[in-house]
């Protein structure tokens, strides 16, 4: 009797799934493809006539920005030093996990640029961004065109597993970019371990990244909650240049020296069948990744003689 009563509950869970039509048991979470359903062969081909990818990434916009602003910041402003680039796999999907800071964070662009510059295979990097950006005018256009993808589990899965791409996530999310200067290089909570689950489902390795310099490039001294409410933005920080220098102050970075260190990949295959079902294991892996990034951050900051000269 008890099992009889449970049945409708389970069916409601997958209310819109097609399982009823096929009378096949659905053992996976809705929103993610069933484990054995491999549709990778049916991915749409690339059309050489197009300059925009199916994700909305525009070669033209990205290229223009890359040749000008990003190039300048990478070479002359932040003078980025890259360590351990060999830890980024040359093929297959991989989930890059980094610490995150700065009100309009420069770290994502610098990580993408360092892979482009240093890696033998110039792999494109897809950054996951908050859903917020899709709904905010201006950001909605720009973020998508320069390679931003909404941080939806299905998006991450498609990129990692189906398209075998590099995906960059910041598990700290806005907790990382919101934090004030006094909390610099102290990692926030790593979400609920969703990124580990995503990597496990896609059998993709996790590459932890430690970035030093971004905290000083755009220090936030306070959060202006009134302005935040008025503008509808995620947060409005008080930085050395923002908001008193206007919108341009948002990209007013100080010339801190950047170091991007790619760490030893953490493999997620060989952890058994469906390891993502084991929430304890997921949490452990997330904790390990967080610990190794924190450790490296401490070490890098300790070795650094000057914030500006490295």
């Amino acid at each position: 009797m008890a099992s009889d009563r449970r049945t409708p509950l389970r069916e409601r869970e997958t209310d819109h799934g097609p399982d009823v039509f096929e009378r096949r048991r659905q053992d996976d979470r809705p929103g993610l493809p069933a484990r054995r359903e491999d549709l990778r062969d049916f991915l749409p081909g690339l059309e050489p006539e197009r300059q925009v990818s199916d994700w909305g990434r525009s070669e033209r916009v990205e290229g223009a920005l890359d040749r000008t602003l990003v190039e300048f910041l990478y070479r002359y402003w932040f003078r980025v030093t890259v360590e351990g680039i060999e830890n980024v796999p040359a093929d297959g999907g991989a989930l890059l996990v980094s610490n995150h800071s700065g009100a309009l964070p420069p770290d994502a662009a610098m990580i993408a640029k360092s892979i482009k510059e240093e890696h033998p295979r110039e792999r494109p990097l897809h950054l996951t961004v908050e859903h917020f950006f899709k709904g905010y005018p201006g950001f909605s256009m720009l973020v998508q065109k320069i390679g931003g993808v909404a941080a939806h589990p299905a998006n991450v899965h498609r990129l990692l597993y189906d398209e075998r791409q590099l995906v960059l996530v910041f598990p700290e999310g806005r907790k990382g970019t919101e934090k004030l200067y006094k909390d610099r290089y102290r990692l926030r909570r790593f979400g609920r371990g969703g990124f580990v689950e995503a990597a496990m489902r896609a059998h993709a390795p996790i590459v932890p990244i430690a970035v030093v310099g971004a905290e000083e490039a755009q220090p936030a001294f306070a959060q202006l909650s009134l302005l935040q409410r008025l503008s509808g933005l995620l947060y409005v920080p008080l930085t050395p240049t923002f908001p008193h220098l206007g919108l341009l102050g948002m990209v007013g970075y100080l010339p801190a020296k950047f170091t991007v260190r790619f760490l030893e990949p953490v493999r997620t295959d060989g952890m058994g069948d469906e390891p993502w079902q084991d929430k304890g294991l997921v949490q452990n892996v997330a904790q390990d990744v967080r610990a190794v990034i924190q450790e490296n951050l401490h070490e890098m900051v300790a070795k650094r003689r000057s914030v500006w000269m490295g």
């Binding site: 039509f21 659905q26 049916f42 749409p44 199916d54 525009s58 909605s140 939806h152």
Partner: protein, 448 residues
């Protein structure tokens, strides 16, 4: 194909009519009955048309009487710019309910249901995934009336599938259609001299060419593929990319905040942007089309190609605007053309290459030919001779009873001499061009 006796709703929509035309060419299909509230807009050869009310009540009588085994429901209204919300609701929710009621019941002959739905099922939200797969539900409850209707209609189909285990149910969720002969809010919007966009947004769009709409429907009718499938062409384009391909100028005339109000302003200028389209213009939508591809369907056009074809068709259309008169359905003519009733419980199949002459018919035909050979002048001179007069005119009457396609099916089994004889007879009497042409072709193929 298992489907032999098909009921098609939404016959008078463009793709409904096109689908009927395509199915007419399938030899295995015995009967196609199309229902709609309006009269058909495309010329149909053997599809029977029945006019019904918006609610599609009483459909069950047609289903039972014609022993329908496959119901294809293409009637769902997915564009609130084309009809009033009340009519759309009537059609989408009440209509779906009645059609499903028409297909259920313990004695029902229906074995298969194909339901045309829309990508609007997923809606357009800020926190959408970039590609919807069929397994995903909506992240939020439906917002616009048309989305509510679609979700409710799909729910009814789902319940139907749950209750009727032996009926194979296929749901197709289509992306926005594009094609020279389609008329949708989006295509109207693309034809504006300057296309208004929402300031600060460049949504992702995916389309499906009308040929692929028909192709996908035909694919799921002729194969057994139960389940839900997205139907959208390969390639998701940014709106600006679409407008570039269409050689259009655009202006961000719609405000990012209070977009509804600026849309009202546009309406005063005569441009109607329905609410579900407004959401699409803001957030866009991508569909994962791989599941249908995995069942063996190959799309003919990518989104980019579909848009380019549409653009080409638009250019041509501008040249010859008064060329040709559109087809008009005339009931009496159509009734006349289809004298043989499709609604029957038993009897021979109506047509196609699947028809084989029975032994009796072959024997009759031989006798016809013998009669013709014996007294050809006679038969021609006295038309009474071929009238069925009790028992004497049996063979000739039998020949006259055969329809054109049935005669054509017998031809390969005849000798060249008989063929020539038959041709002469046909030319003198009924002179059906199809039959004469077929005999000529059959004669050409034989060494005489």
């Amino acid at each position: 194909m298992d489907s032999r006796r098909i009921l098609l709703t939404g016959l008078s929509s463009y793709w409904g009519g096109r689908l009927a035309q395509v199915l007419e060419r399938h030899p295995g299909v015995e009967t196609i009955i199309g229902v709609d509230t309006r009269e058909p807009t495309l010329e149909l050869e053997r599809t029977e048309f029945v006019q019904v009310s918006t609610q599609h009540a009483l459909l069950r009588r047609i289903v039972d009487a014609a022993e329908i085994d496959t119901v294809i429901d293409t009637r769902l209204v997915v564009d609130s710019g084309t009809t009033s919300p009340r009519l759309a609701h009537e059609n989408n929710v009440i209509g779906t309910m009645n059609i499903l009621a028409g297909c259920s019941g313990p004695e029902t002959p229906v074995r298969k249901l194909v339901f045309k739905s829309s990508g609007h099922f997923y809606g357009c939200e800020q926190d959408d995934p970039s590609f919807f797969t069929e397994k995903m539900g909506r992240p939020h409850p439906a917002r616009t009336p048309i989305e509510k209707d679609i979700v409710e209609a799909e729910k009814a189909v789902r319940d139907f599938a749950e209750r009727n285990n032996d009926v194979s149910v296929t749901v197709l969720r289509f992306a926005n259609g594009i094609g020279a002969d389609l008329e949708t809010s989006h295509l109207r919007y693309f034809r504006l001299p300057v296309v208004p966009t929402i300031l600060g947004f460049d949504p992702r769009y995916q389309f499906i060419h009308d040929e692929d709409m028909v192709g996908a429907l035909e694919h799921v009718v002729s194969h057994d593929v139960p389940g839900v499938y997205n139907v959208a062409a390969d390639g998701v384009l940014a709106l600006t990319e679409v407008l570039d391909l269409l050689d259009k100028r655009w202006l961000p005339l719609l405000a990012p905040w209070g977009t509804g109000v600026s849309a009202l302003g546009m309406r005063a200028l005569g441009v109607r942007v329905p609410p579900e389209m407004l959401r699409q213009l803001r957030f866009g939508r991508g569909l994962d089309n791989r599941r249908l591809k995995a069942t063996g369907y190959a799309y003919r056009y990518t989104t980019r190609e579909a848009i380019e074809r549409y653009r080409e068709a638009q250019r041509v259309r501008r040249l010859g605007q008064n060329e040709g008169t559109p087809y008009r359905y005339e009931r009496e003519v159509e009734e006349f053309l289809r004298r043989s009733p499709s609604v029957r419980i038993e009897g021979q199949r109506s047509s196609g290459s699947g028809w084989q002459p029975s032994a009796r018919q072959l024997a009759d035909l031989q006798r016809v030919l013998a009669t013709l050979e014996a007294a050809p002048e006679d038969a021609a001179a006295t038309p009474e001779g071929r009238k069925p007069d009790g028992n004497g005119g049996g063979p000739l009457a039998a020949f006259e009873e055969l329809r054109a396609d049935e005669v054509i099916a017998i031809l390969p089994s005849l000798e060249p001499g008989d063929l020539r004889e038959l041709r002469r007879h046909e030319a003198e009497h009924s002179a059906r061009t199809t039959v004469l042409g077929a005999i000529d072709r059959a004669l050409e193929r034989r060494p005489s």
